[in-house]
């Protein structure tokens, strides 16, 4: 009964979304306040209905109701409770439902907190959101219904893919979808603005918090996914340039560009047309990502959908929304005025530089991901585009961008003085140079690129600190006044400094682990010892163990350094009972920022076990940096001017009025 109610709620949500897609637009055109008023109410109602549907599916999972096909295929009565919850979205149907839930959640947020939006803009934004909602509800109801019943009901389920039975599944997809789908709001704002034919700095002020929120979630989601792959897949890699990773990375790159260009538009009313285009592109890439992952076009661990109808359906949605938005853009671009002039050397100029490189990077990842598919479709030739391609193209694009980062926040708006900024960055540049020399000196034989990479990381970190220090008046005022100024700095200043600092930390982690990690593979018998980095690992042998829905063989290692035993590592090979699927559970010992990573392999006939050990210096910096970047996003989100719309708006009009006279 609950299952049918869930299904019914989903149909109700579709009906409401259809109304919400049409009536507010008519209302905004006429104008008819009553018709526009229905948009927020409908948005909240469809959120409640989708939430009910999601709750219904969750109940079926938690109670292990195997009469529901989706539950039978992806759950098991012995599965731990947390995975019964997270398993709801550990499959195609459920994950699409989560996608829609987050979409309507964002619509409801606009409905609730968009009180200071112009009436017609709010109506149009919610209508565009409803178009997307309706399209995806159709998709779920027609091709991927999670509420399909089975008769007779099986006694036991087929269990969740063991790789997904991890805390990562509880966190990674929701965060990722918050990011992916969060960009839908920027898209809806862009399309609504195009419909209205009017875009100003106030528009950017409304779009920026949504972009920030989506970007923050996406950053955290990608980092989480990366760490999950790192410890779960068992070969210690943290980024594989897998098409599915690229699918989430492209919206991130475009979203990062959007975040920066929206800043220019908000502060200086420049780059309007570009910002709108970027908002459309970012969500288009999210849709493309959804298509790539959900259609089964790519063969990957993530693609649990192989039904061609689904692929065609999502492709239709993709063409409709991306094509429609770009056509609308082409039609309306003339009506938008390009405002705010600036010299090439200026804050705006730096942000344009940022956008140029991020857009090129996005295009590179896009072409690398799609090229094999397109080439095969057109000529039938099969090629592969993998990590070596991306490292060779994406890497060099990042170097000028990263080098430019510390300049951006120090340049003045409109017209900047590059030489003056260079002087302010002496300290950061000196520190970076010293680091490069130190790396080359201490790590003999270190590749030049490693020294350069670490120096860039230090440059970013020191640059971010310089930015905050100068804003607080370092070198110009006394320390107590500096402290006062420091406390009075806008949150957005801390936000961008934190994000750039986090970026520097990630860069250091990436470079260090790429250049200095070591890998040992050997066969050990119980009692034997192997060496990895500065450590010795003594193998204690294998021991069987049973978990709730798996059995495993645990291998224990005693770790010592210079003869002192100080830790043990347990690594395991698991077999999940229901699917009879083996997985490796890597043993990871975190020492400061570095990690010792142990994975077990086959047993050899003579009683030994294949053991692989990686020493990964500073590897955690990669994710710590990403977390700091997300914290920067959150900090910016709490900036005064994003929280309090009204006074800021008045100020903005006063400034623009001042410019006109």
């Amino acid at each position: 009964m609950i299952v049918e109610l869930g299904h019914y709620a989903l149909v109700m949500a579709l009906a409401i979304s259809l109304l919400q897609s049409v009536l507010p637009v008519i209302g905004a055109r006429r104008p008819d306040a009553a018709l526009m008023e229905m948009a927020p109410a409908a948005a909240i109602a469809s959120f409640i209905f989708v939430l009910l549907a999601f709750a219904a599916l969750t109940v079926s999972y938690v109670t292990s109701d195997f009469s529901v096909q989706n539950v039978w295929e992806n759950s098991h009565s012995l599965k731990p409770l947390i995975y019964k919850f997270s398993g709801v979205w550990g499959n195609h149907e459920g994950s699409m439902l989560l996608w829609i839930l987050i979409l309507v959640f964002f619509s409801a947020l606009v409905a609730l907190f968009g009180g200071n939006l112009p009436f017609s803009l709010k109506a149009n934004v919610l209508a565009v959101q409803a178009w997307i909602t309706a399209a995806f509800l159709f998709f779920v109801l027609l091709t991927s219904n999670p509420f399909q019943r089975l008769n007779p009901a099986p006694i036991e389920g087929r269990d969740l893919n063991p790789i997904l039975q991890d805390i990562g599944l509880a966190i990674h997809p929701p965060l990722l979808y918050l990011g992916y789908v969060g960009f839908s709001i920027c898209f809806s704002f862009a399309v609504a603005a195009l419909i209205e034919g009017r875009i100003d700095a106030a528009w950017a002020r409304w779009v920026r918090p949504w972009t920030l929120a989506a970007w923050t979630a996406l950053t955290a989601g990608i980092a989480m996914g990366s760490y999950w792959a790192y410890y779960e897949l068992g070969w210690g890699g943290w980024w594989f340039w897998d098409p599915v990773e690229n699918a989430s990375f492209m919206p991130w790159l475009a979203g990062t560009a959007l975040l920066h260009s929206a800043l220019v538009m908000e502060k200086r009313e420049a780059l309007k047309i570009w910002t709108v285009l970027l908002a459309i592109m970012t969500f288009s890439l999210s849709l493309l990502g959804t298509f790539l992952v959900r259609s089964g076009v790519l063969t990957s661990v993530h693609a649990f959908a192989t039904d061609p109808l689904r692929g065609v359906f999502i492709l239709g949605i993709l063409v409709l929304f991306i094509g429609g938005a770009f056509s609308l853009f082409a039609l309306r671009v003339q009506t938008l005025s390009q405002g705010g002039l600036f010299a090439p050397i200026s804050r705006e100029g730096a942000l344009v530089f940022n956008n140029l490189f991020l857009t090129t990077a996005t295009a590179t990842v896009l072409v690398g991901t799609l090229y094999p598919l397109l080439l095969e479709a057109v000529t039938g030739a099969k090629i592969s585009v993998g990590p070596p391609f991306f490292n060779l193209t994406f890497g060099p694009l990042m170097i000028p961008l990263l080098l430019a980062v510390p300049f951006g926040p120090l340049l003045a708006w409109k017209r900047g003085d590059l030489w003056a900024v260079c002087q302010r960055l002496y300290f950061a540049a000196g520190l970076a140079l010293l680091t490069a020399l130190a790396v080359t000196y201490f790590a003999t034989g270190a590749p030049v690129l490693a020294a350069l990479g670490i120096a860039i990381g230090i440059w970013l970190i020191a640059g971010a600190i310089t930015d905050i220090a100068l804003r607080s008046g370092a070198g110009r005022v006394a320390v107590p006044i500096m402290w006062q100024r420091f406390k009075g700095l806008p949150r957005s200043a801390f936000g961008s400094a934190l994000a750039h600092l986090g970026l520097g930390i990630s860069v250091i982690g990436i470079v260090t682990v790429t250049a200095f990690s070591t890998e040992e593979v050997t066969t050990l018998k119980p009692g034997e010892t192997m060496v990895s980095g500065p450590f010795a690992l003594q193998f204690e042998g294998l021991k069987p163990n049973t978990g709730p829905n798996y059995t495993e063989l645990q291998g224990r290692f005693i770790v010592s350094r210079d003869g002192n035993r100080f830790a043990t590592i347990t690594s395991a090979k698991r077999i999940y009972t229901a699917r009879r699927m083996p997985t490796t559970e890597a043993g990871i010992l975190t020492l400061g920022p570095s990690q010792l990573y142990v994975a077990l392999g086959d047993e050899t006939p003579d009683g030994g076990t294949v053991v692989r050990v990686w020493w990964k210096p500073w590897v955690t910096f990669i994710w710590i940096g990403a977390v700091i970047m997300s914290l920067g996003g959150i900090t910016s989100l709490f900036d005064r001017r994003l929280r309090i719309g009204a006074p800021a708006t008045r100020k903005a009009t006063a400034v623009s009025a001042g410019q006109e006279t």
């Binding site: 993998g386 593979v521 049973t546």
Partner: protein, 160 residues
């Protein structure tokens, strides 16, 4: 409880009979010469495992990947250069095995897109900047406006 016991029994059989995945390079494959081994690893990282999903043969557990790894090492031991080894594998398995496609008519666009976007964007910005400068000179004040402006400014000077 009985069901649980039965499951455990099944699991035990699985544990005994099922071969667990080997982890990519196994000790028996590793060459004695560390320089050759290093070269083998580098070559392997650029070759795709044909039966896997987006994995290099260096990362893959598949049997075919192991065969290829052994083949790469054999050729290296026999004195082939890196190019010769890759060329040999490509001649047997086609361009599909290369994770970094070769530059050719087919892959022209793939390699060109980053350059086109970057240079195109740069060119657009430069042209636009030129246009802006021209339009800015067009926005200079007329003589009348200039006179008015001076009047306003001078009156303010008197005020202060």
């Amino acid at each position: 409880m009985k069901r649980l016991a039965k499951l455990m029994a099944v699991a035990k059989i699985c544990l005994l009979s099922l071969a667990l995945p080997a982890l990519a390079v196994t000790p028996d494959e590793v060459l004695d010469d560390p320089v050759l081994e290093e070269r083998a690893r580098e070559i392997s990282a650029g070759l795709r495992c044909l039966v896997c999903q987006n994995q290099s043969i260096d990362d893959s557990d598949a049997a075919l990947a192991k065969d290829l790894r052994v083949l790469v090492r054999q050729r290296l031991v026999e004195g082939d250069s890196d190019q010769e080894v890759v060329g040999y594998i490509v001649s047997r398995y086609g361009e599909f095995v290369l994770l970094k496609p070769r530059f050719s008519a087919q892959t022209l666009l793939l390699w060109a897109v980053p350059v086109i976007v970057l240079c195109g964007g740069l060119a657009y910005l430069i042209i636009n900047a030129g246009k802006n400068r021209r339009s800015r000179t067009g926005m200079l004040l007329s003589q009348q406006e200039q006179a008015d402006l001076e009047k306003v400014l001078s009156s303010r000077d008197h005020d202060s």
